[in-house]
Subunit: 416 residues, 4 copies
Amino acid sequence: MINEPNRINPIPELLDALVGGLREDTGGTVASYIPELAYADPEHFGLAMCTLDGHVYAAGEADVPFTIQSVSKPFVYALALDEFGLDEVMRRVGVEPSGEAFNAIRLEPGTGRPPNPMVNAGAILTTSLLPFDRILDGLARFAGRTLPVDETVYASEYRTGDLNRSLAYLMSSLGALTADPLESTAAYFRQCSVRVTASDLAVMAGVLANAGAHPVTGERIVSRDSASQVLTVMASCGMYDFSGEWLLRVGLPAKSGVSGGLVAALPAQFGIGLYSPRLDQHGNSVRAIGACEELSARFGLHVMNPVVRKASAVYERRDLSGGIAVRRLEGDLGFAGTEPLTRELAGSPPSALVLDLDRVGDPHPAALRMLDRLVQSLAEDSVPVVVVDHRRRGLLRNAETEFGSLGEAQQYLDRS
Amino acid sequence: MINEPNRINPIPELLDALVGGLREDTGGTVASYIPELAYADPEHFGLAMCTLDGHVYAAGEADVPFTIQSVSKPFVYALALDEFGLDEVMRRVGVEPSGEAFNAIRLEPGTGRPPNPMVNAGAILTTSLLPFDRILDGLARFAGRTLPVDETVYASEYRTGDLNRSLAYLMSSLGALTADPLESTAAYFRQCSVRVTASDLAVMAGVLANAGAHPVTGERIVSRDSASQVLTVMASCGMYDFSGEWLLRVGLPAKSGVSGGLVAALPAQFGIGLYSPRLDQHGNSVRAIGACEELSARFGLHVMNPVVRKASAVYERRDLSGGIAVRRLEGDLGFAGTEPLTRELAGSPPSALVLDLDRVGDPHPAALRMLDRLVQSLAEDSVPVVVVDHRRRGLLRNAETEFGSLGEAQQYLDRS
Amino acid sequence: MINEPNRINPIPELLDALVGGLREDTGGTVASYIPELAYADPEHFGLAMCTLDGHVYAAGEADVPFTIQSVSKPFVYALALDEFGLDEVMRRVGVEPSGEAFNAIRLEPGTGRPPNPMVNAGAILTTSLLPFDRILDGLARFAGRTLPVDETVYASEYRTGDLNRSLAYLMSSLGALTADPLESTAAYFRQCSVRVTASDLAVMAGVLANAGAHPVTGERIVSRDSASQVLTVMASCGMYDFSGEWLLRVGLPAKSGVSGGLVAALPAQFGIGLYSPRLDQHGNSVRAIGACEELSARFGLHVMNPVVRKASAVYERRDLSGGIAVRRLEGDLGFAGTEPLTRELAGSPPSALVLDLDRVGDPHPAALRMLDRLVQSLAEDSVPVVVVDHRRRGLLRNAETEFGSLGEAQQYLDRS
Amino acid sequence: MINEPNRINPIPELLDALVGGLREDTGGTVASYIPELAYADPEHFGLAMCTLDGHVYAAGEADVPFTIQSVSKPFVYALALDEFGLDEVMRRVGVEPSGEAFNAIRLEPGTGRPPNPMVNAGAILTTSLLPFDRILDGLARFAGRTLPVDETVYASEYRTGDLNRSLAYLMSSLGALTADPLESTAAYFRQCSVRVTASDLAVMAGVLANAGAHPVTGERIVSRDSASQVLTVMASCGMYDFSGEWLLRVGLPAKSGVSGGLVAALPAQFGIGLYSPRLDQHGNSVRAIGACEELSARFGLHVMNPVVRKASAVYERRDLSGGIAVRRLEGDLGFAGTEPLTRELAGSPPSALVLDLDRVGDPHPAALRMLDRLVQSLAEDSVPVVVVDHRRRGLLRNAETEFGSLGEAQQYLDRS
């Protein structure tokens, strides 16, 4: 799965150069508030990138294991969303940025609901919603492999976890946390002690970028909605009190951890995993931050700055004799891609229409409904519409008939 | 520019139905803290949607004028970004969500820097950076038409503006505001009193969605970076203390105003303008919120839930005799669309390669650099690469040569 | 009025020594945020102490004038209390410590009521309740002389007063301040620019310590209740975020100002005035603070650590033949001084009782009522009670009769 | 020790009337957040008042036992002050009012130091400084009798104590609490479960009012400084976010508890104990508050509104032939009582002076030093000074000699 050096493909070389350049930045300090974390090698620096067809590019120490820490938060939140749905989970944990450091104590007055699942209070509450087996199994399914717990780090977290215990008891006293505070924090410490690599994180982020399906195996890990909800919360709350500037400058939903790990994802494009233990004063990995900034700047990755691709889903337009219009569509049809077609055909309706949906993948129901409505209107004006789809999926109910190939459709209309 | 009813195109009908359904929601109350606003007709409800090729769909009272109020904030911020650049503007106004109501007083300790340009303090400071003529002219260029100031509303704002004066004097006392507090607030009141319609707002949002270029005229209003920066700040700070849940549930960068207006934009897809004067307890228009929620849900519009379109920019792949590979690309090339091609060709290099860039629009420099690097590598392995581009733009410097048509290219390679 | 050196009275020498010792402390810096204040001579150090019979001890530069600044706050608050009563004033300004610095913006949610009259917001609001003539006249009556306004300092305050204008506009926007914000702050700046000396401040504090009556002239300046209310608010809010520790260590209700002035008062004992321009980081005069600490420690002045004086108001107890009890009382009778007498007489009632009230000054009504009740009970048991009071004030209505001298009373009872 | 009805002494009747009148106020609700507290009889209402010579007046259910709860805080704080001194205790617990409710979480940034010992965090920390045996024994010494722990209430507190555990873990995580969080909170719950009566509380408060000595037995419980320090902290922090208004309106340092108990003390005058379980929304006993307000208003008890007693400690002034001045002093000499004498004698020095100190109790060292200095000055001017003191305590070192009676002194001077 891991990238092998290849003289021709320029991407590995670019990533190696990026990692090499950032290695020179030795700023920041390894976290020591959990004593065990202080043993990390400060020079380690791993980067991995997972495409949505499951290819993983890797550079540096992308396979050195470390404990996942807070990077676990979005994935466990995804598991909870998938189990209980957004409304139920939002009743227990909010989604508003707290504009505060990771250990801030700012619960909703009255209810004790934590502000969001990316701060410790919210993560502890999220963890308390699921049995720990489910959490461990869920993280493994995201990564596509079994993930071990680092018992030494766990013991260290347990010993130094009074702030988290304080948060748990506070939420318990307000009725927000209904599980046992000591057990909930112990489970949370255990979740934070799961060992991963930068490559694992890239794949895990890839699941979120890929709308919940595993980019390598295609297995559905969480629902499309759960994946986009997690990405949204990462975008607004993932980088603590630095979230606004992060989203502005880097534009990638992300989550960092105190061990130096970081995940980022560009929806429908990539998952990214990073590891470098030296942290800045916000508690984010200095080099991981730098790598994201460079990736965003060099490769034009920014969720609010998408490359404006050809809006229309129509890749070929042919007008045959007799006023027969042929329109060939491709991709996962959405609103923006379908709208120009409806406008064009409504503006100058043909005598007959062939819609070739052969290359259409997994169309959004809204786009199909819109297209079907157009077909119905044309039919009411006596414009026959036939569909071409070799898989004969029957995507448009209002079409007159469906053929396996364009030739058959043309013959049929010519005969009419 | 405005949509005319059309029996065939289903979109107008869908928008009319949406507006009709939401008209039944008579919840909320018209703002009255500025007395003049209370005269708005509570039943008015306008919706408009601007595509990136400049078509405006409209429904309801999309052409009823109202004062822009806080909806002016993102556009004036865009003008300031365009004039001074992000770094300079960020020195004066932050970009972190305040997690507070619109009139919250939370300035950066020490400097008095307001948290972001979407709260009043930040907007007043942003306004103070530009002469008022520039602001009025800038808003007009966004809308594509001259926009009048409503002098009666201005007078009303001026009379009741003590809270904003308080903010201005506070920022002045801390050295954050360097212009005269009374003049700065007066300019801000005037900016808020500019009259627009829902259709205007759709076009203005369309500029942001269209990376800064006017969707109707194509004129560049602000830079691509300024546009994406504004969208990002709208995403994290646009809906006050409701921003997190808004981004989660609706997924559209947006900004609302106390007169009942709202803009939203889906990057690279649409601009949306809304108007309905009745407000919820957060100060957002009840029906405008409802319309965005329905648009997002029904049409699948959510910035974190993009339709995964065919990743590759290659729309046709042809392998000719003699090991000649033809790859035809389309769209505005980006990293994600180009990466699969580099991977494929690096994995099994052809004897010769034709890259047809005829349908490629405005490629991202990063994508071009990557492609050019691939061409160079292939050339070093004695694989000749030629480009087809009838505009002969010379996009790839390392290509052997460039032809106006595919036929010419094939002939050339066949001869070699 | 000012103390003249006297070889025999040790107090002047003690105060001179205290001032001399503290002169060596050159820590702190002269305030410069109002430019005009920076011209103060940092070496100046004045101390004055006013006894309740109007004697003023003075040491150092006790007659150097300076602007009163925030030291005006308690006196203007006293004037407002005296004019409108506590309930009305508390409707407009709270009495809770804010636990914050002098320029903190913490108003009551909803109403905008400032927390207390010792922070700027509360002082501006208090000032707005009275015409400025009344304020200037009131301050002069406290001091016992006309006090000039320093127009240069006023102009300087006016120029740099944006923070206070911000507070005023904020309170106006919330409906808390009903006067014009710019006029209210201008009046406040003027009040702060009144010129006083340390000796003036000692006398002014003496009025508060003396239950509202001027210690020199005996003139009533404010009511007893107003005086004690101001002292209470000074005790809990007078030293900003340092109030708790101040009350603990020094135990004197006090108020400091940015020009280096400070007033303190020990109820029923003293008024103190201090001046030294160098301030600590809390904005309090370094030497004035030091002087209060030494005075408190050396002279045992602490409101919570009173010398337990003889509780009983009885200064002479004589039991005559025939079971006639003579009890001679003195001082301003209060509950604690009267209670032992009621207990004693109730425990072993005499055959007859002479109460000598000749030396009783201004008795508390509660004490008189209690004593009168005792007299009634004794009478019901056929114990005759007569009063001696050469002023024949008729203090006890239930007494059988009243005589001008003890001899007459004894004769009368002997005859019975 | 308890008051027996007495027809002649009016005080019991006054207190009975006060209790009777307030019984009609059935407002408020019995605390139920600790389930066991809900079983209290809401009609119970006890009041007790302890004079500094150890007499206890009682009215209503002054002998019904209840758990002391937060009323324990000032007494345990006094024990800690007495053990470690103010500086050491202040290093661990602050003395600033928090202006917040009893369960507020506001610790000093960085150190985690709780704001004051009257909020739960501060009380838990204070408790952690002492072994629990010492606390239980100390409370018993304040009360003058062994106090039992209510094990049922303790168990109930323990079960519902998550908020306090949260505070303890928070302080532990910040290094402020160095003892075990679960053990410290258990000790605190136990301390809160000690059973007392209103009469007990009156005596306990009497110790504080009496400068640390037990008013009944005279035994020293804590030092004079500890007692006054506790009273000061009660004055500024004792009534939570109601402290400012309480001190203003009632003027008695006080502390309330959730079971309905309340202690108040007027320094050098009284201790007061109250019990009535129905609480207002601040968590203070409705009737206990009412009783304090009435006591303050009716009996003129207010720490900032003392009855101005005769300032001079001189109770008799006699000028004999030959310029011999006799001055007889009484009470616990303080600065205010001694100053007029120094002024008088310095103003017109006699030929010889007799100072009768027979009735002087426990003079403040500062007053003695001042007097001795005066004696020295007179001696330097050849004015002989002799002291009369039948206990021959040698209070003034500079006096020429000391006699057991005034007659001896006169004889001596006549002879000279």
